[in-house]
Amino acid sequence: MQKKKVVLTFPYKLINQPITYHLIKDYDLKVNILRARINPREEGRLMIEIGGEEKSLEKGMNYLKELGVEVQSLAQDIRWLDEKCTHCTVCIPICPTEAIILDRNQMIVSFDKDKCIGCGLCVPACPYKAVEILF
């Protein structure tokens, strides 16, 4: 079983296609939708966690690419700006997935991209704009 978090970008012509359905039904993949939107350029964007057998996952990804869906890792859409973080810790109780980690001995904050689901709750909570979600 493999899992990854990706951002899918759909061109205008694919906006009405039930692509998530096909990923689940035809490729036996588990899809957890984290965020979805259609932006003003009329592109669809979908932030998902996708998991399944290695082979199925590979086939599913190929299916997306052949359709013309752009796939990129979620990590590219989320930026933790270490130089802006003051390690105040006000974001710690806000993060629902413990992606923002506090070393309580040193009181130093760090960020675990793998745990981040891109919910964006930390963005308005940070007084120093140390997190950017480009989604």
Partner: protein, 401 residues
């Protein structure tokens, strides 16, 4: 044998002073005992790095040719309004100031992405700022309009002047209501979803000198990465707040007004700050040395997070309505553990004040003193203390008719 500040300064000049941080002194005193520690240690450095709304700066921008009198006119730095009530070319910018066209909280919660605090950070960072001004014109100051870039290096006096900083203890903010609230203590989730505090606790300057026995008017301090001074007691200074038997206030008490030369400061220690739904502010780095003159003063500096208590206040009703009442008292040790108990519920905690950065400041100041780059000062005058009877008064409103 008590020491004097002059004796400590002589040791600093000889490179012999023993300087430790307010965190380090705890173990030293435990290990050696108070008597020996007081003999051996000369200075304890304290620090804090948190949002301090009552911060601002005054600048003398120099006279233009022909001259303009900004006093009584209007002026802006990067579209953020500055106060022009002082003479021709002295302007004052406050951390909370916002551009006239900022939507504020019209769509709640407002973003408040840029304001006076950010202008001060950019000025200190050496960035060019856009100055625009209009004036009414006089015979001696004929000009009515000014638009120019300015840079800190070309200005005359550039002084950080903060009427209230370094609060001695502060509230722990929670939200008992069933909606999210946006406060100067951060975003508070409904039904006790989180608890935010704002103090460096055992490292915080006035918690290590609870009766202001060494910190007073004229005390030289680390301010925003440079050197500053305590100018006065801060606004809302409330030395008569309730205290624990060790003298430590159990709620917000003393405050400091501080000032220093912005040209010597650094954007690392003066940060423009955004509180969503509330406004902009400035996060200020302050470090204050405490001369260990005797055992009593040393004992105060050994205060630990578990000995410092703060009041848990509901920011959905009690705070905005100015109602008395605390939901309970918690120690900074509990706050830093990540969870506190409020009304029987475990509430996760977050801090607005950075302990990690405060520790860095305490270390920097320690090194300055050790390397003879920073001498201690005798206060010119003491701050009003617990015996002064001074209290923090509410506004008495009187009808106009």
């Amino acid at each position: 044998m008590p020491k004097t500040i002059r004796e400590i300064n002589e040791k600093i000049k000889r490179g012999e002073a023993v300087v430790v941080t307010a965190e380090e002194i705890i173990d030293i005193a435990e290990e050696k005992g108070v008597k020996k520690a007081a003999q051996e240690v000369d200075v304890v450095t304290t620090a804090t790095f948190g949002p301090m709304c009552s911060s601002g700066a005054y600048l003398n921008i120099g006279h233009s040719k022909p001259r303009i009198k900004l006093g009584g006119g209007r002026a802006y730095l990067n579209d953020v309004p500055v106060y022009t009530g002082f003479a021709a070319v002295d302007i004052l910018i406050g951390a909370n100031a916002l551009p006239d066209d900022d939507p504020r909280n019209k769509i709640h919660p407002g973003e408040f992405s840029y304001g006076g605090g950010h202008v001060i950070e950019e000025l200190v960072a050496g960035k060019d700022l856009k100055l625009t001004a209009t004036a009414y014109g006089t015979d001696c100051y004929p000009r009515k309009k000014l638009e120019t870039w300015i840079n800190i290096k070309d200005l005359n006096e550039t002084v950080l002047f903060n009427p209230r900083n370094a609060y001695q203890n502060y509230n722990v903010a929670v939200n008992l209501s069933d909606r999210v609230i946006y406060t100067y203590m951060g975003i508070l989730k409904p039904k006790l979803g989180n608890a935010n505090y704002c103090s460096a606790g055992q490292l915080s300057p006035l918690l290590n000198d609870p009766y202001y026995k060494t910190i007073g008017i004229g005390t030289r301090i680390f301010l925003g990465g440079g050197v500053g001074y305590v100018a006065w007691q801060g606004t809302q200074h409330n030395p008569t707040a309730p205290r624990t038997p060790n003298g430590v206030p159990r709620a917000g008490a003393g405050t400091l007004a501080v000032m220093g030369d912005l040209k010597k400061m650094s954007p690392e220690w003066l940060k423009g700050t955004t509180m969503t739904g509330y406004g902009t502010t400035l996060t200020v780095g302050i470090g204050i040395p405490i001369p260990i003159l005797d055992e009593e003063i040393l004992t105060y500096t050994t205060v630990k997070d578990e000995d410092i208590y703060a009041q848990v206040i509901d920011y959905s009703l009690a705070y905005p309505e100015f109602e008395p009442g605390s939901l309970g008292e918690v120690s900074y040790r509990e706050l830093k553990s990540g969870r506190i108990l409020v009304q029987g519920k475990e509430v996760p905690t977050g801090s607005l004040s950075s302990y990690a950065r405060a520790k860095e400041i305490a270390d920097i100041l320690k090194n300055w003193i050790k390397r003879d780059k920073f001498l201690l000062t005798e206060p010119v005058q003491s701050l009003p203390s617990a015996d002064s009877g001074l209290t923090f008064k509410p506004l008495k409103e009187r009808p106009l008719e």
